[in-house]
């Protein structure tokens, strides 16, 4: 038997006091599609960086073709045929496709001068190799995401790698583009190139990979051929949680006054004729592939899509939501998808992060009432069980879960009527996740808060929502009580849409 292409043995890596990787072993054979699964923060990216030589492991060894590698660097990893396609693709938006493709090979050949004929030739070859059609003279910034990804893949293939690592390649793709990507990946595999597919999406893993390794909190928790896995087992491995037997039950009066009624909501090219109702105390899940319009729906309700067509009623009164301020004024709160770039003020204190939505309420004549503000922040820190002695610490010192509690807590201070959560527990550790779910259900039940929960994580929706909507290409294609559906049905539906 030949040695595997790459073998990691008992890899350990720590940053300060944090153990990012702990006793991780993994092997990838030639021409194998291997999936590395794990939630955000599980250690996936650290592992990629160890394989690609950016970081040196503290313990353990890396073998390539059965040979032990000492002091792997990015350069030597590339020389051994390891290519990484990062989530952001690392392309140059201001340069042409041809140049993006040819630059690195020209660079690695140590050339000093650029021959534009050779650049085009190299690029044309690279594109032909991948078997796709791209305008070589187009500026990369003008390409859609899928096009940029093809450029990145074509560039990576130019150096004839043995292993291609793709970091969350499907994140920004639509269903159709994901299918196209999978065809490309299988084609790459057909040439004997192994692909390490890093993802946290179940459906993809089951569809594309041959072997699966799941890591959680820096440890391998499950590994084996894909045939040994089903969705439930992957979820269990990724989250460390059993799927709760019983979901959220809404006990309100179905004939009561709806909290939110949306009729014929349309935004050209984004949403089409959406109609939905949310009753007080309901938790409504929204599922759909990327590009399905789920984030656009949330943004429209939060006043970030001014000029939408359609009618929105809150508590029976018709309202226009043409600015964030109006939406907030009508009791709508939004917890955005990307906590770090859209949610938090990282260098500021917990208190300031918490109180940002309350400035108007807490000030008189523009002057902040310091005492009241401090009291309210402290109360909310207690209520949301945020792990910090005081609120004047920088918010960066909190874990992902606690940071998310700050973002949710800031809205609760305003006593909202409708809470929109976009990916409420992305990048949150397991223990904290359950706590956040408990809190959301409790808020819906006790305060009569309506919740719209957008998530990729079907078990999360099944677990916490009483009703689940499915969006596809801007249209609402399904609206089912959670009790009448299950994960398998939903995922089948989503798969059929792709």
């Amino acid at each position: 038997m030949t040695a595997p292409l790459i073998e990691l043995r008992h890899i350990g890596k720590s940053f300060a006091a944090v153990r990012a990787l702990d006793d991780v072993s993994l092997s990838i054979g030639r021409g194998e599609i291997h999936c590395l699964a794990g939630e955000n923060g599980s250690g996936k990216s650290t592992l990629i960086k160890v394989i690609s030589g950016i970081w040196q492991p503290d313990q353990g060894e890396i073998l390539m073709d059965g040979q032990k590698m000492e002091g792997l660097t990015p350069r030597s990893a590339i020389a051994h045929g390891v290519q990484v396609i990062y989530q952001d693709f690392s392309l140059f938006p201001n340069l042409s496709v041809a140049e993006n493709l040819a630059l690195s090979s020209e660079l690695h050949e140590g050339r000093k001068l650029v021959s534009w004929r050779r650049v085009r030739q190299i690029a044309a070859e690279a594109i032909a190799k991948l078997g796709v059609d791209l305008d070589l003279d187009a500026l990369v910034e003008t390409l859609p995401t899928a096009g940029k990804q093809l450029v990145a893949i074509a560039r990576a293939l130019m150096s004839d790698p043995h292993l291609l690592i793709m970091d969350e390649p499907t994140t920004a793709l639509t269903g159709r583009e994901v299918e196209a990507l999978f065809r490309v990946v299988r084609d790459i595999q057909g040439r004997g190139i192994a692909v390490l597919f890093v993802s946290h999406k179940m459906r993809e893993m089951l569809e594309i990979s041959e072997r699966l390794t799941v890591i959680r909190s820096g440890r391998v928790v499950a590994a084996g051929p894909i045939s040994e896995f089903d969705e439930a087992r992957i979820t269990r491995a990724m989250t460390g949680q059993e799927i709760a037997a019983e979901g959220y039950r809404w006990t309100g009066d179905p004939r009561g006054k709806p909290l939110l009624e949306v009729a014929a909501l349309s935004i050209p090219g984004q949403l089409e004729n959406i109609a939905l109702r949310i009753m007080p105390g309901e938790i409504v899940g929204v599922s759909g592939l990327l590009g399905s319009g789920r984030t656009e729906l949330a943004l429209a309700l939060f006043g970030m899509k001014p000029g939408y067509e359609g009618r929105v009623r809150i508590d029976g009164r018709e309202v226009r939501l043409d600015s964030v301020q109006e939406a907030i004024g009508h009791g709508i709160a939004y917890v955005p998808e990307d906590r770090l770039t859209e949610g938090l003020f990282l260098t500021q204190t917990i208190d300031r992060n918490m109180l940002v939505t309350s400035h108007d309420r807490l000030s008189r004549g523009g002057i902040m009432q310091g005492g009241r503000a401090a009291r309210e922040a402290a109360e909310m820190i207690r209520e949301m069980a945020i792990a910090t002695p005081t609120g004047d610490r920088p918010v960066t010192q909190l874990s992902g879960g606690n940071q998310q509690r700050v973002v949710i807590g800031r809205w609760l201070l305003n006593d909202p009527r409708l809470l929109i959560l976009n990916g409420p527990t992305v990048g949150v550790d397991v223990g904290s996740k359950a706590g956040i779910h408990r809190k959301i259900r409790e808020l819906a039940q006790s305060r009569g808060l309506g919740v719209l929960m957008i998530s990729d994580d079907l078990p999360e929706l099944m677990d916490n929502c009483n009703r689940i909507l499915v969006l596809h290409r801007g249209r609402l294609v399904s609206d089912t009580p959670a009790a009448e559906t299950n994960e398998a049905k939903l995922s089948e539906l989503l798969g059929a849409l792709a």
């Binding site: 770039t341 859209e342 990282l346 260098t347 939505t357």
Partner: protein, 330 residues
């Protein structure tokens, strides 16, 4: 108790360093010029000259708070007092007792013109930056040229000389034995300090400077707030212009050009983050005192103004190096 101590320690490392720097400069200058430095006159003259620079530095800090910069502050200051000066020459006389003895309502109107000019100029910057989304550097380079150009067109080049006596009082007079400019500076600095640390507007500014996207998602009116910060910057610049013209009894299109670097230097030395999100008035005051002591000391030692410029520029580079080193250690 420990919480308070911790808080003090954290908040004030930068201020503490500034205090140490100020004391060191003071001691150094006193040691180098024991005879001439420790005289009331030296400190008195600082209280007349420092305020105009201090106001410009505060203006610069306010612009930097949202990650911007205002390179037009000097032009705004000059334009404001040139317009006020031309107004006085119109309603009084180009010179003589009619001008000198203009009654206070006229002088108040002149102050209104100067302030209004500053606010309007700031509004132009704010509109360019928030509405047309021009980068602050280029927008204020451009408007700075235009404002200076308007000064030139209005005056034809030479200085507007001669201001009413009451106007001169603002730059040269004293109140309760304290230099009038210092009084103006302390009041304005106090107001800005209050605005930045105790009002929703000020806190919003720091939050927008930290993460503009998150601020929009939290429902802050980012465009309006940034716009108002440039209006404030323009207003502060025009007050600096009033002090400058009051002190020198003249206004000219190219006065105070070297103040631009000094204002940036003081803002950066005071711990303002030019990328946005951090800046404070007490820091500005300490940095201002430190650098004024330094330049007075150097002038006593007969350093030319050019050498003082060299040292200011060197200080700016040094403070960048120090900040980089601090971040690395952290």
């Amino acid at each position: 108790m420990t919480a308070i101590a911790q808080r003090l320690r954290r908040v004030d490392t930068n201020l503490l360093q500034l205090v140490v720097l100020t004391v060191l400069i003071f001691a150094g200058m006193a040691a180098l010029n024991p005879e001439r430095f420790l005289r009331p006159y030296v400190f008195e003259s600082i209280t007349f000259i420092a305020p105009e620079l201090g106001l410009l530095a505060i203006a610069m800090m306010v612009a930097m708070l949202t990650g911007g910069i205002d390179l037009s502050v000097i032009a705004i200051a000059n334009l404001s007092c040139i317009l006020a000066g031309l107004f006085f020459h119109q309603v009084g006389a180009p010179r003589g007792p009619d001008l000198v003895n203009l009654p206070w309502p006229m002088v108040a109107a002149g102050i209104g013109i100067a302030l209004g000019t500053g606010l309007a100029a700031g509004a132009v910057n704010g509109l360019l930056i928030t509405r047309l989304r021009v980068t602050p550097i280029l927008a204020t380079i451009g408007t700075g040229q235009v404002f200076t150009g308007i000064c030139l067109v209005l005056t034809g080049g030479p200085a507007v000389v001669g201001f009413p006596r009451l106007w001169g009082q603002i730059g040269n007079g004293t109140a309760f034995g304290i230099a009038m400019p210092l009084v103006v500076f302390l009041i304005v600095a106090g107001l800005v300090w209050f605005l930045l640390s105790r009002t929703a507007f000020g806190i919003n500014l720091a939050l927008i400077g930290t993460n503009a996207k998150a601020a929009a998602f939290a429902g802050l009116r980012t465009g309006r707030t940034v716009f108002l910060s440039y209006v404030l910057t323009g207003g502060l610049a025009s007050i600096a212009g009033i002090l400058l013209s009051g002190r020198t009894n003249a206004a000219k299109s190219d006065y105070g050009v070297s103040y631009l670097l000094q204002a940036v230097l003081i803002a950066v030395l005071a711990g303002t983050n030019p990328a946005g999100g951090r800046g404070s008035v007490p820091g500005i005051i300490l940095a201002l005192v430190a650098l004024m002591l330094l330049s007075s000391g150097l002038q006593i030692m007969r350093f030319s103004n050019f050498l003082v410029d060299l040292i200011w520029g060197g200080f700016l580079l040094l403070s960048i190096a120090l900040a980089a080193w601090r971040n690395r250690v952290r």
